[in-house]
Amino acid sequence: MNTGFAITTGSMFATIISVANINWHGMFFAIFALAACAMAVAVVLTDNVVRMAFYLVLSLGATAGLFFLAGAEFVGAMQLMIYVGGTLVLLVFGVMLTAQAPFVSMKTPQRDWVLASILAVCLLAVLVQASVGVDAWRTAAVSVGGGVQREAPEPSATPLGMALLGMRVDNDSSGIVTPSIRSGYLLPFEIVSIHLLVVLVGAAYLARAKRRRTPRAVETAGQSELKEEVRVAS
């Protein structure tokens, strides 16, 4: 395409649309934040458990979108993996396994509403106070045109992973880091892993199929007796 033509058409477009300059970052933030809030309200207002789970998926997905928008890709992917993909699938799975009627609905009593609202308002107050209280969070990155200029380099998940292995590369400036138990999060990480493993083994032990201690011959004899009885009954 001719470059001059491109420039003329481009500047024509520019004059037409230069009146309104959309800040995409802000707009997507508004979209995701609105979706998260609206879906969270929908979770509270629905009676059907599976619909609640569906709204919760949308709400948590929008939250993950907010994380991606903020450049915290690891946290966003974690949110999708653990909450949306793991917890909620298990939740719906549990509902399907245990439901007696086709569509389970739950009616919340009045006093639960009151209690829950009080709790929610308290939590909201604490969160709002915390989010406004930190001075460093108030100065947002300067917004230019469609994007946000970052002063820091692109955040990466690597320092986080290294910190879990006991190497705090973010605190150290010497270049060469030696691992030690105290500097990073190795010890808490290991404790949490062992704890989860214990929980898994315990759950498997509790849920395992109970085997009868009776010898096999007796068992088969008992079964044949049962069959005889059934035949007589029929």
């Binding site: 230069s18 959309i22 998926v57 993909g85 699938v89 719906v92 994007g147 946000v148 990466s156 270049g175």
Partner: protein, 413 residues
């Protein structure tokens, strides 16, 4: 491309970014939709040939190549039915959930060195996480249909996908560990050169890991021999028994989209990504990183490379589907928990030890480009002494890149 529009086209920033982003979305959408059309036709032909039939032959002249298009038009005109007892909202939305999950995973998938919707430094993790969401649409569909066949299908699918995510994740960790990054672009870049630089041939452990990955990937996209969720001999059509018309076809677009996605992921993680078996471009002295037109064409060739590999992967999945019988649910679980997971764990440890012992890989020093092993996050041969970047510098893996200033502007098509 956004820069091109701003500087050459004279467009304001926001509209340039909007155009760039929608172009990327348009391309990805067409990869899924066009891919589904082609793959459905291929599936019918392959199934027919394996069963000693001809398959579609008439529509569109030779080979019935317009068959999928005709099917699409038929699906568009079908009545959109919904059972009386169904949960209307969830029943209507479930296909879109599946399709959106499949579509969203493509965002982080690089098609060549710089051809990626949004380069994420946790790309692998993102793709695996989003791929796991597709099951949610299936579960919702099965539950909301208010039909016992659908419910059985959905329950099987949930159990299967949740179990198979474990070995799948373990297999994916192996190339991530070898590359020292979760960024798919970096992982592909590290395998540049001859085909023995591919992680498939890195050591015996990665070779076995690849086959475990293939098994788990087939299971996680719900294809035969693991297609218990739609076992047509037992469950009519499983989770999509009650669906018809366009909504039904959305499930299939999602399925073929994820098949292509896991194949492309396998290609990037194990089969060298967009690097061909013979490094033609670097032998000719070209580089895919250069900003001029030659670099663009090299990247285009890389894109074709990756597409070929991924398509081959999909064709192999079809071949497997029409060859092997369906497993029972207990056999599916046994395959996952008693075989895939332990083998994947052992392979992970094995690959780790191998990397410590032979840091250069199996074919050490054979044709590895100079400067390939960069300083940075790699474990040195001396064990745990690590050279790391100083605080505040860009990670070395992205040094070929200009760090862009906005999430939207990273659409590099």
């Amino acid at each position: 491309m956004a820069d091109f529009l701003i500087h050459t086209g004279g467009l304001p920033d926001w509209i340039a970014w909007a155009i760039t982003a929608s172009l990327a979305a348009f391309f990805i959408l067409n990869v899924i939709a066009g891919g589904a059309l082609a793959f459905i036709w291929a599936e019918r032909k392959i199934a027919a040939r394996i069963q000693d039939r001809l398959g579609p032959t008439r529509t569109g002249g030779k080979f019935g190549w317009l068959q999928s298009l005709a099917d699409g038009i038929k699906l568009l005109t079908k009545e959109d039915l919904m059972p009386d007892g169904a949960d209307g909202l969830l029943f209507r939305l479930a296909p879109y959930v599946s399709f959106c999950a499949s579509f969203a995973a493509f965002i982080a998938l690089p098609f060549a060195f710089d051809f990626v919707g949004q380069r994420l430094n946790v790309g692998v993790f993102f793709v695996i996480a989003v791929l796991g969401l597709e099951v949610f649409g299936v579960i919702l569909a099965g539950y909301a249909s208010a039909s016992k066949w659908s419910l059985f299908g959905a329950m099987r699918e949930a159990a299967q996908v949740v179990s198979y995510e474990v070995p799948l994740g373990m297999c994916v960790v192996v190339p991530v560990m070898l590359a020292g990054s979760m960024d798919l672009v970096t992982i592909g870049e590290k395998q540049a050169g001859w085909f023995f630089q591919w992680y498939l041939f890195h050591d015996p452990f990665t070779f076995i890991t690849f086959w475990i990955y293939v098994t788990c990937a087939v299971a996680s996209v719900n294809r035969a021999p693991f297609d218990l969720a739609e076992a047509e001999s037992e469950l009519v059509a499983g989770f999509h028994t009650e669906y018809s018309g366009l909504r039904w076809s959305f499930f299939f677009m999602a399925e073929y989209g994820s098949m292509f996605l896991v194949s492309a992921l396998a290609a990037i993680l194990f089969l060298g990504g967009w690097n061909g078996p013979v490094p033609v471009a670097s032998l000719l002295g070209l580089s895919d990183g250069s900003g001029d037109t030659t670099g663009y064409f090299v990247r285009l060739a890389g894109c074709a490379n990756l597409m070929t590999k991924a398509t081959l992967g999909v064709l192999i999945m079809m071949w497997v589907r029409w060859t092997l019988p369906r497993l029972r649910i207990d056999q599916v679980m046994t395959t996952c928990l008693k075989y895939c997971t332990p083998i994947a764990a052992v392979m992970f440890v094995g690959a780790m030890l191998w990397t410590l012992a032979l840091p250069g890989g199996f074919f050490r020093g054979l044709g590895r480009p100079a400067g390939e092993i960069r300083e940075g996050w790699l474990l040195g041969p001396g064990g745990m002494s690590l050279q790391v970047q100083k605080n505040g510098e860009a990670p070395p893996s992205s040094s070929r890149f200009e760090q862009s200033e906005s999430p939207v502007s990273q659409v590099g098509l």
